[in-house]
C-alpha cells in the first residue's frame, strides 16, 4: 500500500525508517509494526493543514510547526526515587497524595510506575504502552486503534496528527480495568519533556470493562525554555457497558511548545465517561476531541477549561457523535484569555438517523480579559433524527463592569476581583468534576497562572 501513496508534504525528521527502527528497538510484534507503518503512510500522505480549510481557519499551524525542527526523544532509564526525577516534577509528585497508582514519563520513556498489589491482583493493568505490548499483547492488540481508527484511505489534515502519534508512539499509558473493579483514587500520570527541540508521542489507552470504574489524571509539565518542544498526543477511551471513566489531561508544557492531541471516546451501553481538558501551557495547542455514543443510555460529558496569556493560541475541535438512541452528551468548554491570547472553539453535535431520544448540549464560553485577546467560537449541529433535544450556545464576553464594581466596592483590588470572577467563571466547569482533590488542584493551577500573569 505504501508505494501507492504519494508523499505530499515534507515529513522532515519523521521518516518511515524511523518508524521501522523504533518498532525494532522495542522488539514489537509484527502486527504492531504494520499498524505503525500504515499510520505512518497515512500521515505522510495527508496534507499539512492550512488556514484555507474550514477546520483550521483560525489556527496557523503551518507557520508554527516545522518537521525539521525536532529530534526524537532519547530513551531514558528507570528511576526508583521521586527525587531523581526532573526538578519540575519532584515537588508536585511528592505532594500529590491521593492516588491508586502513579506513572512518570520522561521524554520518550516511562521511568516510574507504581500500582498497589491489591489492584494488580484484581487484574488491573496500569503500565506504559511499551510494557503492555510485552506483558499483555492480546489486550493491546484488541483495543489499540479501536477508538482512533481513521477510515482507510481517507486521509486529511484532520487525521494527520493522530496517525503521527500512532506511528511514533513511545512510552504511553495503558489502563485496563476488569469487569466490576472500582478504582477509587485516581491513577496519576506525569509526563515531562527535558529539552527544547524534542518531539514526544504519548499514547494513552484506557479500557474500562463492564461496570468498572476509573479516573486518570494526566499531567503534562515542562519548564519554560527557549525554543519549544513538540507533542503529538493521542488518547483512546473505551467505556464498556455501565463503566464509569473520568479522564483529565492537563496540558502545562513550557512556553514555545506545540501540543496537538487527538482524543477519542467510545461509550457503550449505559457507560458514563467524563473528560476534562485543561489547557494552560504551550505556545500553540490544538485538541481534537471526539466522543462516540455507541450504546443506548450512554452519557459523555466533555468538559474543557483553558487560560491563555502572552500570545498563546488554544484551539479545540470537538465532535459529539450520537450513533445510538437514548444517549446523552454534554459539552462545556470555558476559556479566559489574557494579553494577546487567542481561543478557538469549533464544535459539532452529530446525531445519526435512528439515534432518537438523543440529549446533546454544547456550550462554549469565552472571557476576554484584555483588549487584545481574542476568541472565535463556532458551534454546530447536524441532526439526522427527529425526536431529539439538542442545543448549542457560544459566547465571547468581557468582564462585567457591574460585577467588577460590586466586588471592588467591598475593598477588593481590581486584579483580585478579576481572579474571583475568573474562578467563578471556571467554577461551572470544575464543580462538575466528582474528584474533589483534582478540582482543588485545578483551582490552584489557575490561580498560579493568574498570579504569574499579574507580575
Amino acid at each position: 500500500m505504501a508505494d501507492t501513496l504519494t508523499t505530499s508534504s515534507d515529513t522532515g525528521v519523521f521518516t518511515r525508517d524511523q518508524v521501522e527502527m523504533l518498532s525494532a528497538r522495542k522488539g514489537e510484534p509484527e502486527w504492531l509494526r504494520q499498524h505503525r507503518l500504515e499510520a505512518y503512510d497515512r500521515f505522510a500522505a495527508a496534507p499539512m493543514p492550512t488556514m484555507r480549510e474550514e477546520t483550521w481557519r483560525y489556527t496557523d499551524l503551518g507557520s508554527a510547526l516545522s518537521f525539521d525542527a525536532y529530534e526524537f526523544a532519547a530513551e531514558t532509564k528507570p528511576v526508583t526515587a521521586i527525587r531523581d526525577l526532573p526538578a519540575v516534577l519532584v515537588d508536585e509528585i511528592e505532594h500529590a497524595d491521593d492516588y491508586s497508582g502513579r506513572m512518570v514519563q520522561v521524554d520518550g520513556s516511562v521511568v516510574l510506575r507504581e500500582l498497589s498489589d491489591e489492584l494488580r491482583e484484581k487484574g488491573v493493568v496500569f503500565t506504559s504502552l511499551d510494557v503492555a505490548v510485552q506483558e499483555h499483547p492480546e489486550l493491546v492488540r484488541q483495543y489499540l486503534g479501536t477508538a482512533l481508527r481513521p477510515e482507510e484511505g481517507e486521509v486529511s489534515a484532520d487525521t494527520k496528527f493522530g496517525d503521527l502519534n500512532t506511528a511514533f508512539a513511545s512510552g504511553g499509558t495503558f489502563v485496563y480495568i476488569p469487569k466490576g473493579v472500582r478504582v477509587e483514587a485516581p491513577l496519576r500520570v506525569w509526563r515531562t519533556i527535558t529539552r527544547p527541540g524534542v518531539a514526544v508521542f504519548p499514547r494513552t489507552v484506557i479500557v474500562a470493562e463492564e461496570e468498572a470504574e476509573v479516573s486518570v489524571v494526566d499531567q503534562m509539565v515542562s519548564a519554560d525554555a527557549e525554543g519549544g518542544a513538540f507533542c503529538a498526543a493521542s488518547t483512546e477511551i473505551i467505556g464498556e457497558e455501565l463503566a464509569r471513566v473520568n479522564y483529565i489531561p492537563v496540558q502545562r508544557w513550557g512556553n514555545g511548545t506545540i501540543h496537538l492531541s487527538t482524543d477519542r471516546v467510545i461509550a457503550r451501553r449505559d457507560a458514563r465517561v467524563t473528560s476534562l481538558h485543561v489547557t494552560l501551557g504551550g505556545a500553540l495547542s490544538r485538541v481534537d476531541a471526539q466522543c462516540r455514543m455507541e450504546g443506548p443510555g450512554s452519557h459523555v460529558d466533555l468538559l474543557g477549561l483553558y487560560l491563555a496569556e502572552g500570545k498563546q493560541h488554544i484551539d479545540h475541535e470537538t465532535l459529539q457523535d450520537h450513533l445510538s438512541p437514548h444517549a446523552a452528551s454534554n459539552l462545556l468548554f470555558k476559556g479566559a484569555l489574557m494579553d494577546e491570547g487567542h481561543g478557538v472553539f469549533r464544535g459539532m453535535i452529530r446525531v445519526a438517523p435512528g439515534a432518537q431520544r438523543t440529549n446533546a448540549y454544547q456550550t462554549n464560553r469565552n472571557l476576554l480579559l484584555s483588549n487584545s485577546a481574542r476568541a472565535d467560537s463556532l458551534p454546530n449541529l447536524e441532526i439526522g433524527a427527529d425526536d431529539v433535544r439538542c442545543s448549542h450556545a457560544a459566547t465571547v464576553g468581557q468582564l462585567d463592569k457591574e460585577e467588577m464594581f460590586y466586588l471592588m466596592s467591598r475593598g477588593i483590588p481590581k486584579e483580585e476581583a478579576t481572579r474571583l470572577v475568573v474562578f467563578g467563571f471556571f467554577g461551572e466547569v470544575l464543580e462538575q468534576l466528582e474528584l474533589e482533590g483534582v478540582r482543588k488542584d485545578m483551582y490552584g493551577l489557575v490561580e498560579r497562572k493568574l498570579l504569574r500573569n499579574r507580575r
Binding site: 462585567d400 463592569k401 457591574e402 460585577e403 464594581f405 460590586y406 466586588l407 471592588m408 466596592s409 467591598r410 475593598g411 477588593i412 483590588p413 481590581k414 483580585e416 476581583a417 474571583l420 470572577v421 474562578f423 467563578g424 467563571f425 471556571f426 467554577g427 461551572e428 464543580e431
Partner: protein, 261 residues
C-alpha cells in the same frame, strides 16, 4: 469644630459615556455617628449619588468635590474608598456566579486588613453575623446573590456591612424587597452594628417612613432633579409621606424660577 466625616460640595456628575448630567450640584454634610436619610422621587439621582460616592466608573464627576475625613476621594478607585471605610449597600445587588459568599467576604476582609484572615476565626464571625440577620449558615456557600430572592439579596448586603465594619454606610433602598418581619430583623441588625460601632455614619436612601421607624434619622434630605432641595429633622419624612413629593417639587421649581430671574 472637627471636620465632618463626609462633606459633599456642589457635586456635579454625568454619565461618562454620553455626558448626560444627573447630579447637578449636590451639597451634603454628615458627622460621624449620625444618621441621614435621603428621600426623593424616582429618577431624582439618589442611587447615582450613592454610586458616585463609591466611585462607580460609569459616572464622571465634572464639578465639586467629595471629602471623606477631610480628604478628597474623587480620584480614588472604588476598592481604595472601600478600604478607607466607605460601604454601599446596593439597591440592586449584583450576582456573581461561582463565587461563594464566604470566599467573597474572606477576600474582602483580607484586602481590608492587609493580611490573610484566619479561616476559622473568619468562619465563626461569619456564622455569628448570619445568625444576627436570620440567615441560614448554608448561605455562606452559595454564590453571591445568584438566584437569591429580593429579600435575601438585601440581607446579604447588610451581612457584608456587618462583616466589613465601615465608617460610612450608604444604604440604597435596603428596605425595598423586605417583608415586614425581615425589615424588623434587618433593622435590628443595623442597630446592633451601630451599637458596636457608634462612630459609623449611615446615609439611608428610602421611599418610606417604615424603616425610619426603626432607624431614626437625625437629618432628612429631599433630593429632586439631581440636587438636595430641602433638609430638615425627622418630621420632614412624615410630612413627605403625608403630602407626597409634589409640594417640594413645586417649591424647588419656584426656587429655580426665582434663581433664573
Amino acid at each position: 469644630m472637627a471636620d465632618p466625616l463626609l462633606k459633599i460640595t456642589n457635586l456635579h456628575a454625568e454619565v461618562a459615556e454620553d455626558g448626560t448630567e444627573i447630579l447637578r450640584g449636590v451639597d451634603l454634610e454628615m458627622e460621624a455617628g449620625k444618621i441621614h436619610a435621603i428621600m426623593g422621587p424616582n429618577g431624582s439621582g439618589k442611587s447615582t449619588l450613592s454610586k458616585v460616592i463609591s466611585g462607580h466608573p460609569v459616572y464622571e464627576v465634572t464639578d465639586g468635590d467629595i471629602l471623606f475625613r477631610g480628604e478628597s476621594i474623587i480620584d480614588m478607585e472604588p476598592d481604595e474608598r472601600a478600604r478607607a471605610g466607605v460601604f454601599l449597600a446596593f439597591q440592586y445587588p449584583v450576582e456573581v456566579p461561582g463565587v461563594s459568599i464566604a470566599n467573597f467576604m474572606r477576600t474582602a476582609l483580607s484586602a481590608k486588613r492587609g493580611e490573610e484572615v484566619d479561616v476559622f476565626d473568619f468562619h465563626d464571625e461569619l456564622v455569628e453575623k448570619m445568625e444576627m440577620l436570620g440567615m441560614e449558615p448554608v448561605f455562606a456557600e452559595r454564590s453571591v446573590n445568584d438566584g437569591f430572592s429580593g429579600g435575601e439579596k438585601k440581607r446579604n448586603e447588610i451581612l457584608q456591612l456587618a462583616m466589613l465594619e465601615p465608617v460610612l454606610a450608604v444604604m440604597d433602598e435596603t428596605d425595598s424587597g423586605l417583608d415586614i418581619d425581615a425589615l424588623q430583623v434587618v433593622s435590628a441588625g443595623i442597630n446592633k452594628i451601630r451599637e458596636q460601632n457608634s462612630d459609623m455614619a449611615v446615609l439611608l436612601i428610602t421611599h418610606y417612613q417604615r424603616m425610619l421607624n426603626y432607624i431614626e434619622p437625625d437629618v432628612v434630605h429631599v433630593m429632586v432633579g439631581g440636587r438636595i432641595v430641602r433638609s430638615g429633622g425627622p418630621e420632614l419624612a412624615h410630612e413627605l409621606e403625608a403630602k407626597g413629593y409634589d409640594w417640594v417639587k413645586n417649591e424647588a421649581g419656584a426656587e429655580a424660577e426665582l434663581a433664573r430671574i
